[in-house]
């Protein structure tokens, strides 16, 4: 349990850092891509809030956000903004991946639940061919914090967003064989 709490705290820190990064990179994206960044930011905010509530419920102090995060490189244009978005999502995927390894099995779910819907939200952007998502279901957090399902969703959603940003940036390979590693 303690190990899982530490991993959840690390994931919370990564979600905070992602929110900070999106706040910095969005301004460098063209208008058509900003909804993609806004959707990603909203997803990170939802996960951050879910983590804070869960850690509070289990009497584990959540980590506080840093007052300022050091970006890994200067964000000065569209290219560096996209590179940061990819890096942020890869980092978040890695922390959820680590959390997943510490979780106990969930109870079998009913036939159709939000946890089995297609990953990640559909970006609202339509002006850029690379920004159009092929997925159709919005991210919906389970009503009860189930560490296994939350972690697998967190991993999948971040990996999908990283792929989406790679597609927009024209970076290859688009996908990882084992996301989160």
């Amino acid at each position: 349990m303690t190990d899982q709490v530490e991993r959840l705290r690390a994931t919370l820190a990564a979600e905070y850092a992602a929110l900070y990064a999106y706040g910095r990179l969005g301004v460098w994206l063209e208008k058509e891509l900003r909804p993609v960044a806004h959707d990603a930011e909203a997803a990170h905010r939802a996960r951050r809030d879910a983590l804070i509530v869960h850690l509070d419920e289990i009497k584990a102090a959540p980590v506080d956000p840093d007052t300022a995060y050091g970006l890994p490189f200067a964000v000065t244009d569209r290219d560096t903004a996209l590179r940061l978005a990819i890096q942020v999502e890869d980092k978040v995927a890695a922390t959820w991946h680590s959390t997943l390894a510490s979780t106990a099995p969930s109870a079998p779910a009913p036939a159709t639940t939000p946890a089995t819907a297609a990953p990640s939200a559909t970006p609202a952007a339509t002006g850029s061919a690379g920004a159009t998502s092929n997925n159709t279901s919005a991210t919906v957090e389970p009503a009860v914090f189930d560490p296994r399902r939350i972690a697998q969703r967190g991993l999948a959603d971040a990996a999908v967003r990283a792929t989406r940003w790679r597609k927009i940036a024209g970076t290859t390979p688009l996908t990882s064989v084992f996301p989160g590693r």
Partner: protein, 151 residues
């Protein structure tokens, strides 16, 4: 001399009976007495077979769309990784997988198959033991990414 030989013989018989009494269950367990009970299939067997079938579905599509090669190869790598943690280790291929190696699935068919595969991976990951959850979560995430890049 004679007494000694008789004594030895009797002891030998008793030892033999005792040895057989002890050894029979062991020999049975070792399947040396003809009793054969195959180990139960690994719980991931169906998922493994479906993963092979998913990879095979891409074989025909790759011929006309080489950009799908990394996706097909990812499914193959997932099958290899699954086989490495399964007990007993599955055969390297199955009739179901071979049969589904069709000439060319359409993009729509690939999307449907990938979506089903994603949902199945999520479902299997959710209830798997902790030591298997990570790999299954990776596979689910990879399939989600495939949906993002499919035409």
């Amino acid at each position: 001399m004679l007494d000694a030989r008789v004594g030895t013989s009797r002891r030998d018989v008793l030892l033999s009976v005792a040895a057989l009494t002890v050894a029979s269950p062991l020999l049975g367990a070792c399947d040396l007495l003809g009793k054969h009970e195959p180990p139960p299939p690994d719980p991931l067997t169906d998922f493994y077979t479906a993963t092979l079938a998913l990879a095979a579905l891409y074989d025909g599509a790759v011929a006309t769309n080489p950009q799908l090669t990394p996706v097909r190869d990812a499914h193959r790598a997932h099958a290899v990784a699954l086989a490495a943690i399964m007990k007993p280790t599955p055969a390297s291929n199955t009739p179901a997988a071979a049969a589904s190696a069709s000439a060319g699935a359409t993009p729509a068919e690939l999307r449907v198959a990938e979506q089903r595969g994603y949902q199945k991976a999520i479902e299997v990951c959710a209830t798997a033991p902790a030591n298997r959850a990570t790999l299954l979560g990776e596979i689910a995430a990879a399939r989600g990414c495939h949906l993002e890049v499919l035409p």
